[in-house]
């Protein structure tokens, strides 16, 4: 779970959500507003999540600290 494929699973989910927002946006003169805002929000959020996930996918450095307590160290 939560490996590299997550990006594509997320993409599928996001595309589904975008389609849903496109088709289920309330009708009327603000339909275009609903569609554009919802899809743009979904895509922006996906982008941010995907960037964060990708940045940690193949880390080049690892966390390091020297103030760990003994009781805590195995958590």
């Amino acid at each position: 779970m939560a490996n590299g494929w997550s990006i594509f699973i997320g993409l599928v989910v996001v595309i589904a959500m975008c389609l849903a927002s496109w088709f289920f946006a309330p009708k009327g003169e603000n339909q275009v507003l609903w569609r554009s805002s919802l899809i743009l929000s979904i895509v922006s959020c996906y982008l941010m999540w995907a960037i964060t996930f990708l940045a940690q996918l193949n880390p080049l450095i690892e966390p390091r600290r020297s103030d760990l307590r003994k009781e805590y160290i195995h958590h």
Binding site: A2, P63, I73
Partner: protein
């Protein structure tokens, strides 16, 4: 032609309409249209001065009423009577008939007379009262002088005798002494008594001393009670004075000086019996005056209270009425046929509504002459009318603060509704702060109605942007979760993908590094909490946030650039697609699109053991030493980069020359075919020349839709000739196609675009900088307050914790939410205005300002105090 409904995506379709109204119902029609608020009237009498217009008389009459109403308001404020404010949301005003307005005018006229006469009386009486009060004081105080002075007459006499009395006179005096002895007049000493303002006493004394060379004896006493100056109703402190002097001339002089110094003189008798009678008389008169005064005041207050109930409504009625006549003054009035001709802009889709309104008014008036509304064709540039609702209003306002979008181009506010709050949130990512902000925004929306009345300016501003705050807060909750920051702490929502590599002989203080626990598991949502507090935390988050800034910036700019394609297609300017959009897009993508691809590629490759390439260096070498690869990212990178660079460079001449040369070719072809523009101009519609076509249209006159309009149309078309240039057009750079100018525009555009691609991408790094600053600032605040307080134990520690928490919370709100929020908002605003809008929006429009009572009342500052 029935295009789709108006959407917020573009400004509404506008039509120029002509109205033919019978003179009798002009007022009613304008009233009804003002309630609708959908028509912007054009001034058809530009060459007439304000005094020559048809309805100036009516406006002057209403001005007078307005003055009278303001006078009432001033009187009410003076009397301290509260005004019943007019609530536009609750009360409604039926449009008044002419008779009602006339009645209002008469009524306010008579009321003004009544109030002013009452006022006059009141002031007269008040003055009398003050005089009497002063007199009473003089009598009281002067009496004291006399009583004291009488005991000293002998001394005074003695001193007087020393100076100038010959020996014989002394004897004479002694003879008549018994009767005269105890009186001043017997000594030939007169006196003047009066009242003077206390601050003038010193000057008064000095002047008297100098002019009389010291030949006087002045006595004064302060009046303890405050006297009211009837002129301006302010309290003044006054002194009573009695001046004794020798000889009639000197006394006359003293009187004159006192009067010139503004002192009031009162007659006082030195005989104590007469004085007592005087006091009684004064008291009796004072009582009379007071009772009359009270009556007058009561009547006045009753009158004003009566007025206060309807003053606000009257004020609003009069303002509306004035606006109606001001609008009527814009119409062209045909005296012979008693017809008003109006012209203006209105949204095409609302034409039926306007038409039915006109019909209604005409029917109600019972006129047989119909009112006619005609849509007319024009080459004038229509105004930009962007409909808003309460959600989009604030977003539209921040876009309009930058400029008015060109008629029918993509409304820049549409993407801003999401991108502005989202980019804000990227800089403001902290769950705790976001939740506080969210609750504030929700509270403002929940108590929308009552809070609307708050007039405190700073709050009103925040309130106006409550929906922006809401969207910003929602996105900030998301980014806070992504950054895994809540008041600078992290949450352990999921299992970390790291575990500490603990050596067997671990001692506290030893540096420990982590390793990936499971190769198939990565932290699923947001930043791994294991990074929190790590020594190299910043090293990782900086690299991550910087790259994220670049990617988000690239996405934002690409998205914005796509709108320029939509604009070009909508305005049917294919050359803008091929000459601007396509080469621009290729240029941008082959450099920065490539960079983004590289970033993502580098992330998705496992660099275990091998040296990972630096992307910054890669990009720099791509320009400085094409073909040189420092550390390879992927095989064949050299060729790809050189090819991309070449593609990007080739776009520059295309950007530069394609559009101007195409336009010239098109122009020459049209000329070769024998077409001539109206007034020697091309009739082509293009980005650069569409503005100045209207002057030409005017010159030709406008073909009227309705031929029956006849003369009226001709006249209006003529009118348009005159004001076409100075009204909304005002550009007029020469006639015909000027290649040089087009070329210069394109050169500027190209240079700007290419440089901006670089500088704007760099500009998005502010996302990283601000988010780093926010996170570090909240970490510092935590470590300086809560981290210290949480170490305390016992009762003292608990109390300390409570105090420190209060400080922490307040500082969080003030510094981290308000200050940091404002700063993040400004940066996000800049990203919207500069980085995004410059890619697609022209901002060459002029705003639609319809004649609307609602707007009129909202914007009128002098009506604010009448409306609640």
């Amino acid at each position: 032609m029935a295009p789709a409904r108006d959407t917020p995506f573009r400004s509404a379709d506008m039509s120029m309409v002509q109205l033919y109204l019978s003179n009798e119902i002009g007022r009613e029609v304008v009233n009804a249209l003002g309630e609708l608020g959908l028509v912007q009237f054009r001034d058809l009498n530009v060459d007439l001065t304000a005094f020559q217009r048809a309805f100036t008389q009516d406006i002057r009459r209403l001005d007078n009423v307005e003055r009278q109403l303001r006078y009432f308001h001033a009187q009410m404020e003076k009397a301290g009577i509260p005004l019943r404010k007019f609530d536009l949301d609750v009360d409604t005003l039926a449009p008044p008939t002419t008779a009602e307005i006339d009645e209002l005018i008469d009524r306010s006229q008579s009321l003004e007379q009544r109030v002013s006469s009452l006022n006059e009386n009141y002031e007269k009486l008040k003055k009398r009262e003050v005089e009497l009060t002063e007199w009473r004081c003089v009598l009281r105080e002067a009496g004291g002088f006399f009583d004291r002075a009488h005991g000293n007459v002998d001394e005074i006499r003695a001193s007087a005798d020393d100076d100038d009395a010959p020996l014989l006179q002394d004897v004479e005096h002694h003879i008549s002494a018994p009767e005269v002895e105890r009186s001043f007049s017997g000594m030939n000493i007169g006196f003047v008594a009066g009242v003077i303002a206390r601050d003038r006493v010193a000057a008064f004394e000095r002047i008297l001393w100098r002019t009389l060379r010291g030949n006087l004896y002045m006595n004064q006493a302060e009046i303890s009670e405050l006297l009211i100056d009837p002129a301006n109703n302010e309290p003044v402190q006054k002194n009573v004075f009695v001046i004794f002097a020798h000889g009639k001339e000197i006394l006359a002089k003293i009187r004159k000086i006192s009067e010139s110094m503004g002192a009031a003189l009162y007659s006082v008798d030195e005989n104590s019996d007469i004085r007592r009678d005087q006091v009684h008389e004064v008291n009796a008169r004072l009582d009379d005056v007071k009772s009359v005064l009270r009556n007058t005041q009561q009547t006045l207050e009753a009158e004003l209270t009566q007025i206060s109930r309807s003053l606000s409504a009257w004020m609003i009625l009069v303002s509306k009425e004035k606006a109606v006549y001001n609008t009527l003054n814009l119409f062209s009035y045909d005296r012979a046929r008693r017809t008003l001709i109006a012209e203006g802009w209105c949204p095409r889709h609302d034409l039926p509504l306007i038409r039915s309104t006109l019909q209604d008014v005409t029917n109600r008036a019972g006129l047989s002459v119909p009112s006619i509304i005609n849509e007319i064709r024009t080459n004038k540039k229509p105004p930009t009318y962007l409909k808003t609702n309460k959600f989009t209003e604030a977003f539209q306002t921040i876009v309009n603060a930058y400029g008015t979008a060109t008629y029918q181009e993509v409304n820049p506010a549409i993407p801003v509704i999401v991108t502005f709050p989202f980019l804000f949130a990227v800089m403001f990512g902290d769950l705790g702060h976001a939740l506080i902000m969210l609750s504030a925004a929700l509270a403002m929306i929940y108590w929308e109605k009552p809070l609307k009345k708050v007039t405190f300016e700073l709050f009103a501003m925040v309130y106006y942007g409550r929906y922006i705050a809401l969207v910003m807060a929602i996105f900030s909750v998301f980014t806070g979760l992504i950054y895994n920051d809540i008041f600078s702490m992290s949450m352990t929502l999921f299992d970390s993908s790291w575990e500490w590599k603990v050596p067997d002989d671990y001692r506290p203080g030893q540096t420990v590094s982590a390793r990936i626990r499971d190769d198939n598991y990565r932290y699923p949502f947001g930043l791994d909490w294991r990074w929190h507090g790590a020594e190299n935390d910043l090293l990782f988050t900086n690299s991550y946030k910087m790259k994220m800034s670049i990617i988000l910036g690239w996405a934002h700019m690409t998205y914005s650039l796509c709108f320029s394609y939509i604009n070009a297609r909508h305005f049917k300017r294919p050359i803008d697609v091929w000459g601007n959009f396509v080469p621009g897009m290729i240029f941008f993508q082959s450099i920065f699109g490539y960079l983004v691809v590289c970033i993502i590629y580098k992330w998705s490759v496992n660099w275990d053991g091998t040296r990972a390439p630096g992307l910054l260096n890669m990009l720099i070498y791509m320009f400085l030493q094409p073909g040189f690869i420092d550390v390879p990212l992927y095989p064949g990178q050299k060729y790809v980069q050189v090819a991309l660079l070449l593609i990007a460079i080739i776009q520059v001449p295309i950007l530069l020359f394609l559009k101007p040369f195409y336009l010239r070719w098109e122009h020459n072809r049209a000329r070769a075919k024998g077409y001539r523009g109206i007034g020697e101009r091309s009739s082509r519609v293009s980005a650069l020349d569409e503005d100045d076509d209207d002057a030409a249209a005017g010159r030709n006159g406008r073909p009227s839709v309705d031929s029956a309009a006849g003369e009226g149309v001709a006249m209006i078309a003529h009118d348009l000739d005159d004001d076409g240039d100075d009204d909304e057009a005002g550009h007029g750079h020469g006639d015909g196609f000027e290649f040089g100018e087009v070329m210069i525009h394109q050169v500027i555009h190209t240079i700007e675009f290419c440089l901006n691609c670089v500088s704007h991408t760099a500009s998005y790094l502010r996302l990283w900088a601000l988010s780093l600053a926010h996170q570090q600032l909240s970490a510092v605040l935590w470590s300086m307050t809560m981290a210290i307080a949480l170490k305390g134990t016992g009762i003292g520690g608990a109390i300390f914790l409570v105090v420190v928490f209060a400080a922490f919370f307040c500082l969080s709100c003030i510094i981290l939410i308000i200050m940091e929020g404002v700063s993040a908002m400004l940066h996000s605003l800049r990203l919207a205005w500069v980085e995004s809008f410059s890619k697609f929006a022209e901002f060459g429009g002029w705003p639609f300002a319809p004649f609307s009572f609602k707007q009129l009342l909202e914007e009128a500052d002098d009506l604010k105090e009448y409306m609640g």
